[in-house]
Symmetry: C2
Subunit: 547 residues, 2 copies
Amino acid sequence: MAARYSIGLDFGTESVRVLVVDIANGNIAGQASTNYEHGVIDQSLPGDRSKLPPDYALQHPQDWLEGMSLACKAAMKSARAKPEQVVGVGVDFTSCTMLPTLRDGTPLCLTDAFRKIPLAWPKLWKHHGAKSETDRINQVARQRNEPWLGRYGGLIGLEWFFPKVLETLNGAPRVYDAAEVWIEAGDWLVWQLTSGPFPHCEPKAIPRSTCQAGYKAIWNKKDGYPSRDYLAAVDPKLADLVERKMPGTLMPPGQRAGTLSDRAAKMLGLRPGIPVSAAIIDAHSGVPGAGVADDSTLVMVLGTSSCFMLNSRVEKLVGGICGVVEEGILPGYFGYETGQGSVGDSFAWVAKALSLPHDELNRRAAGLPPGSGGVLAIDWLNGCRTPLMDGRLSGAFVGLTLTTRPEQLYRAMFEATAFGVRWIVETLREGGVPCRNFVASGGLPGKSPLLMQIYADVLGAPIKLAESDQSVALGAAILGCIAAGKETTGYSSIAQAVGAMARQRTDVVYKPDAAAGKKYERVYRIYRSLTDGGGAVAGAMRQLREV
Amino acid sequence: MAARYSIGLDFGTESVRVLVVDIANGNIAGQASTNYEHGVIDQSLPGDRSKLPPDYALQHPQDWLEGMSLACKAAMKSARAKPEQVVGVGVDFTSCTMLPTLRDGTPLCLTDAFRKIPLAWPKLWKHHGAKSETDRINQVARQRNEPWLGRYGGLIGLEWFFPKVLETLNGAPRVYDAAEVWIEAGDWLVWQLTSGPFPHCEPKAIPRSTCQAGYKAIWNKKDGYPSRDYLAAVDPKLADLVERKMPGTLMPPGQRAGTLSDRAAKMLGLRPGIPVSAAIIDAHSGVPGAGVADDSTLVMVLGTSSCFMLNSRVEKLVGGICGVVEEGILPGYFGYETGQGSVGDSFAWVAKALSLPHDELNRRAAGLPPGSGGVLAIDWLNGCRTPLMDGRLSGAFVGLTLTTRPEQLYRAMFEATAFGVRWIVETLREGGVPCRNFVASGGLPGKSPLLMQIYADVLGAPIKLAESDQSVALGAAILGCIAAGKETTGYSSIAQAVGAMARQRTDVVYKPDAAAGKKYERVYRIYRSLTDGGGAVAGAMRQLREV
């Protein structure tokens, strides 16, 4: 029998990657990726010279479609796969990346009226324009003691859905008024696949993922979105936002959102009618993609930023987490998400600032003792997610002397991110959420054994690696397989499909070194003395943002 | 009448510079400098491969003599000066740079028995090996409530004379025992000039400067050195240190210490019998060298580190100053010294770490607004002198984001040193010492107009520049002229000589910008919130040193 494949469409920050995956064993039969033509739009809009405000990070919707089309055809070709071998399609996407559209799916930014309005364009997850709006949203929620606040560690993030909507309402009210649909980019993509692409989409059939909605748009299985009263209290114009501008049906990742439309099939070089899964956030896709379908295992997706996902039997309202969402990652569990705003990005910043290549810095840093010879970094170059949830915080180096060498700065930043992970783990445990095992995936583990050893030493626990170095895209393909259904795939449960298609490596496990762990224990205490939320350093960082 | 000259011998960290100065107007008729052959010895001793401990910074005494000989002859040649035109010689030297010698002036490190013992070598001012010894010296002084403690801001510095002696006693007791004379390098040099060079020096004729003794060896015009009881309480073996191992006569800079010996005259290419002034610390030499002979003017010698000197009519015991010494700089005044451990060195560290040249960084930094776009530095890469007097403190950067550019780090370090100056000025004023005018000298003002403008803006006061860009060496030459005496020079007072030979520039004055000052006011408050002595940041820095 010819192999049967599931397609994983993995939409990242700079590019889209497509995997063609054998559903029998998870082998990647073919793959390709395409860089977005416009990349991250943070200087000026396409066709426009006006300088964008700082903190802006936008994307071009056409990049997603064209990139996906090119990459999917190339991946199918590299797999020598025939369209009839493909049984399902899964989609993961960065989040909260979101956009305003018309009812037919057309992004507002692609209409003549709004082409030159920055706030009409898709806001990328790391768009940080909604600072005052985030404050407002949190302030009103605290005043009203909104029941959902506890599920998000007591704080709604700067990068989330409603802050970005409110930013648009404040900064470009015409855009807000003209938007007929506000939607996550991952959901928009699935919408395009199943009933589009635009301008042919039906507004009633918008499939929205419980993952994106739960983690980024304050949606909950029991209570839905924030109430009309709450939204009206934030701004009267938001009162009917959910009813009028957020149509669609909520469904968990892995559920069949629809089937490939004729036009979308043509765009991908696939057959119409293939089941498409509801979208999932890229990081969360890494959980099935790392072969994890049990509870109490922290899946660490380590990349430009890091996301930490954990399935648990218990629902606890833990201060400082990004979110706990029932069935947010896998059915039957409460899915916890925590995160670090900048990890690989911080290492890249250091390497760029020092004008030295990563390889060289890694090599030299590996020769240093734990503690980087007295240099301590704070890893908040893109703010602090868990546990402080504060985008105004910033990065730091302390302990510099005239003899401090570049590799000390680099290693100190490695160690800082490890301390950040440990703080997250302690936050979960202290909140009553068991956290026993660690599986790393994403781009960083393969790039730096030193980094992984530091994480193991700082956590005092072994770290396993996802077998696939593309666990996020693989996770999307697994969800595509699940959406295809038991009749087609033969898998009777999600756990069965995950177990067959993804695993952890057995040849490399990073084991903690006790002597190093003792040294890190001391440095971690110093790190915590500087990073605690109400401290002088955090206060100074916030004030610096205002100068 | 042929011009008459005074020679200024200026011993720096890396080189010795010699000026041939016209005593009528201060014009520099000729000059030359020689880099020390062994530079700063911080890796291994000459002729030895053993790695020195970190924090070690030593020098080679022969480098001083040979460098001085070469440079003096070259300077005389460049001035086309004849030996009979030279009326006096002045010496400034880094401090506390000190060494153990035999009674005949021979440095212990040049004897076969001690050649391979690091602690027998001259310890450069920035040698930081005496950490625990400094703690001990301060602890005993506080316990005994020593009367002199208040004159040094309540704290004896890591770089000073007695810590370096005690470090030797602890680390190399044989060296301590064998040392017949413990002496400042500047005093040793004057000793070599007037009765040497070794091994021909007479131990009774050692001229010791009240400047070095007052600022670095806890000497006071009224009470002399610390008491035998105090020294014995620190360590019984130190009890007779002053009586037995510190022979000599104390005299202020400008006083005639003696005249050039035959051998020394030959070494310099000068005539024997020329008057030689008692030595002065390099920074303090910058006061007369900047044309300042009045009170309440802060002379800022800005170089690798910065020293701030102020003559005042009042003696106040101000917390955190390096020292107040009666007639420590000029007769008739109480001389205040304060300082920053690392200024140009910090800028050099940043430029080296970023792999960018100073010119480029200066140019880019000049385009940034006050506050460096939200980046704040702490300038303690070589510890904090005034006002915290703590060598264990270290440098820091706060406010880093993924978009932070190299020039922001560079400018932030400029601003940090300016905030440090302001803190020093506030410390003096709050202590009751008037501080009204500002004159900058040293190597940095000419290199960076941006730096000077930042200082003016942060201080909210105009900054004048010493006319000579070599005010330290010029100051030494002025002292040589003064030592020559009224009969020879015609100057009836020190002020008259200073006024004739040194001035401030009239073409360039940095005036404070009010708008910039307002912005700096806010950032300075944040700087202070992080740098205050008992704060979390200082605590973390100290702990990091122990890891």
